[in-house]
Symmetry: D2
Subunit: 376 residues, 4 copies
């Protein structure tokens, strides 16, 4: 793995490195960690990398790594820069034969996203977008139960992703994560929408297997002097006739990382919250409520495969994130061995849908919440 961005002090870079490392399948071998070669080398040194594998730019890294013998060079790039710096390195990596892991939202525009989809197809390189919540064992259990028809046809979906860290003008304090997220040049057209709304969209699409058809959105800006949304409410309609709602916010004072879905089918419902990820509540028309737990009784194989330790030993955010990396690594290992198997991780297609979602929400909100299709 070669990392682009994620120098010292970066929250998400460290998360990616820990997540990639947990299962012992992936080694960090090089990086273009920062905007200057000096900073990049300093980060690399702290990560026990040789200076020769610390690059000043992603272009240099891709070019130089390509020259190395196959067994030495990086297998894939992991792009953990702010949003506006996803597209170019992703494109270049694909064009030079490297697989790609890219943070979300994948690109700033739908056109860029479509370009990456096509390029991934053309080059045959695999591409993961790090929506990490589908990596959680109980999310996989939910998906498997619904796919298996245990809830009957899905009728209603409620999802929320609520944080409070932008309740105050934290960006005025120079807080790094806040500063770029409120800047449309770096973040794109969505604020909280792009940062966490896309996770909510991805999560319900993954769990239900439904196609979101159109949305009606009301974005809000509560922080003084902000230009991007820090809050949003949505109505949802799915192609199968299901309806639903989404609420996301980064001004939900006191909330930490409250991402939760409720999915209702004809026969029952499933409720999950990422702050207590090791528990999936199922409710039924005609049976007592049931609670599933990782490595617990009567799970689907997909859920069992996503746990590392015995039931009752909590796994968390990093382990779920690691499952994205693990399946990505298993996928390209399988490819190299010529095996036709499909490991489960969010793909470039999911990334495209996320960008479509962002743009549809912004358009709807600008049109006083008119119903707007994701693809038009």
């Amino acid at each position: 793995m070669g990392m682009i961005g994620g120098g010292l002090g970066s929250f998400i870079g460290d998360v990616h490195r820990k997540a990639a490392g947990i299962d012992g399948l992936i080694d960090l071998v090089c990086g273009a960690f920062s905007s200057t070669i000096e900073k990049s080398k300093a980060s690399g040194e702290a990560l026990f990398l040789p200076p020769s594998r610390c690059y000043g730019t992603y272009e240099e890294m891709i070019v130089e790594e390509k020259k190395l013998p196959a067994h030495e060079r990086m297998d894939f790039v992991s792009i953990v820069t702010p949003n506006h710096m996803h597209f170019a390195p992703a494109k270049l990596a694909l064009e030079n034969g490297f697989h790609v892991v890219c943070d979300k939202p994948m690109t700033l525009t739908v056109e860029e996203a479509e370009t990456l989809v096509l390029l991934s197809l053309k080059t045959g390189r695999i591409f993961a977008v790090t929506h990490n919540y589908p990596g959680s064992p109980m999310v996989k259990q939910a998906r498997a139960m619904i796919a298996n028809g245990e809830l009957g046809a899905i009728r209603k979906v409620n999802v929320h992703y609520l944080q409070g860290w932008l309740s105050t003008a934290i960006e005025a304090t120079g807080q790094k994560q806040a500063s770029w997220r409120i800047d449309p040049k770096k973040s794109g057209v969505g604020g909280a929408l792009g940062d966490i709304g896309t996770h909510a969209e991805n999560l319900i699409s993954y769990v239900t297997g439904l196609q979101l058809e159109e949305i009606a959105a009301d974005l809000g800006i509560f922080g003084k002097d902000r230009v991007l949304d820090d809050d949003g409410q949505l109505l949802l309609r799915f192609t199968n006739g299901a309806k639903g709602s989404m609420s996301f916010s980064q001004i939900a004072a006191g909330e930490e990382n409250n991402l939760s879905f409720r999915v209702y089918g004809e026969k029952g419902s499933l409720i999950w919250n990422q702050e207590q990820p090791n528990r999936l509540l199922a409710q039924w028309n005609d049976k007592p409520k049931t609670i599933y737990t990782p490595n617990g009784n009567k799970l689907h194989p997909e859920a069992l495969a996503a746990s590392r330790i015995p039931s009752g030993h909590p796994e968390g955010y990093l382990e779920a994130f690691a499952n994205v990396y693990k399946n990505f690594a298993l996928q390209f290992n399988a490819m190299e061995e010529g095996k036709a198997v499909d490991f489960d991780f969010p793909t470039v297609q999911d990334g495209l849908r996320g960008v479509q979602f962002i743009h549809a929400v912004v358009k709807s909100s600008q049109n006083n919440s008119a119903w707007t299709k994701l693809t038009s």
Copy 2:
């Protein structure tokens, strides 16, 4: 108290009688419980009423009770019939000098609701609408905290009221509660909307003290052959600039009576769920989360006054309901003693707003979720 409706086998009639009786302030003295005099007398007998106080019609009850000496006759009527039979008895009771307790939604039309508001003003009779959830001690604590500015200005409100009992075609089995609720002649223009959506509207209006300005609604009908909504999602805008969402359903399979709000202000948030009513979660920008409990530490007086027993001894649905009756009784006692005090219960004005809400939601949904004002 003289009851209209609520004969043997009625769920809600029994709830009203228990709630009215708990605090020893109100006696059931007469009733027009059913559509025939025989059934009404049978119900009355089971309730230990003398046959002379069991009436065949509400008109007869109002006329005959009026003839009794003041200390003997009923003080007020409690109307617990299906929705289409609220307006006429309420009007007649007011016109004949009786106070009124009326189930929700108060009337089928906005015009009827306005008539009752005016009549209540004109006659000086007090009028309670039995939105019972504001009777819960922790709901009163939430309202008091917000009124006291502890959360700062309110920015966001999420509320849901989810039930699953209409997930299947229970009405086809002859289930009494289901049968009239799906019939627009008896229920009015709203299905789940009128039955529980109005509770959600009332709850957030009570807790936040905000005025709901406009809504964008998407009603759903999932039960085969139904003509009224059994599900709905709403976007909310309040006059102070706050935004929010509402989700209600009676096809949320497996849900029992999941009514919950989350209110976000500048400084903190409050979360409450009526299935665990004895706990109010507060979350803060700069303090650890706090949990308030009935009769627990550091409550506002309004919350303390609503509890009967020491902290840790759970009170429930009936006790919250009883608080509506208790405050209603204390109010008319105070009136008779000439005291100018205001006890806290949902009034005819709340009832009017609930009916306005129903009609605005239906109108918005018919206009493909266009933003629609509550009063126009």
Copy 3:
């Protein structure tokens, strides 16, 4: 019902009256509420009783009521005085043909308790001890599941009853409930032990159907200048070979009314907490965890019979308490109608076992926690 004790300002007297009244089966018709006739009449007046039915002593009440015609006089006495005043009125009531409801612990000594058991048998009068927690629907569900063998043989029982209200020297402030509870003349040999330890003992005996054989106890006194225990830990052995532990306390700072059991059988376990009484958690060797709720799916008839309102509408402390009164009333009604049915409520035998338990615990604790049999 004629009440002994429970004058104005009494917590438990009010609870008994509300609980007895909820279901409309029992009327308060007379009382000897206080130590003087004036106070008793004042209490009676506030309860809308005629002065003629307010008595100065329990002896007078029993004698005078006995003279009234059968359809007028009280059916039973309800004794809600401090512990040292349970035995004499209970005895006199039985001797004069009245049924008895008595607060716990039933008597100060085992001999007194045995006397009441014999007298109840001899007179054929029924006798309820108000252990209210077995009145909770989910406790009845637990008992029915265990009786039905769903857990297999019971192996382990953990129970705790934790309160914090005696953490500080509240008795020094003149707080009425505290003052008599810490006084061995009024409370008997047990402090927290008699007040809440007996509830814990009764609850697990009821739920498991097991016989507690011997205990090893370590009582503690943490409040300055107290002479009775305010804390205790116990080891438990049951006659079937099951083992367990009990912890009770009134100096568990910050606890409100945390009564909870965990029962483990060969196949599964059940966990319940009275602060969230409307939920019973079942855990299994080979199935997902399940949650039962009042009036929810797949309950035993005993649990269904103990709920008044639809699932999801919480019932609480008063409703559970009311179930003791309701079944007591149904029992003596059945007796009068000559029907041989057994309604489920804590009897004089349970009261005797509670007193035996208190004395065994005190004895064990005095013997440095030596194993001590309940009956010896």
Copy 4:
């Protein structure tokens, strides 16, 4: 790090490797993973170790590694074998100048444990025992609050550690973890006692800072044909006068890994459960309940230092375990740099106390639960 035990298929070896690796401070460089050199090399290969660093015995590993240049050889051994194989390699490692990480219980006998304490002192090598639960951020917050006097003097401690995986005769199926744990030759005198009772003892000693003085124990054996305890209940007395109880079990059917403490002081209490580790409940005499979360508001520095990711992003078992390794590594790095700092991890002294605890419990239980001192 050189690992002793933990070959392929070992649960705990894998946990140790992941935990040691998360923070990028520790590399696995060699191992004596299994009882044969072939198996050891196979495990090493799967872990990407060169064959030269895979040894057939721990003796060989210690001898050979010692010969390597300082910057190449392992810094410490990590011993993850069954209990009976802890002492000899730990002793040899210390004697040869290596630091030691050792699984719990540290040794089979008190004498062995004392030997290791003395040897660690004499050699100046540091020694960690992997009680992982003190690694949890909210456990550190609890310890810091108590040390800071926020609860006042501690009066009462309840702890339980409940698992159900030995409810059935799983050892008869050849399950590896079960087989050695029920064998006194490998496990020592304690069964569940040694395996999880010691964790419970360590946790409350760590959190409260109190010294456990004596215990009264009742061990149980419920599994057919077992000779070691699979269940136990204890009374606890601390040197400061506090009292308490402990319950542990591996036949608590349906429980997964339910380790929980409740600590009561004069002013308040703290409750934590490792199945929901990211939440610490505080209850107070005179304030609302509070909930602390990792990286949340108003934490002590010790708690903050133990979290890796923002509040609301759950960390779990592995991350807590990793904190033991991290602090151990920081400690020996500091030693090498000559810095006098004390990082917080369970030491050889904690290991000794754990072994004393096991023997005291067994002795008490054999003496029909007589009070027994930990050190005698």
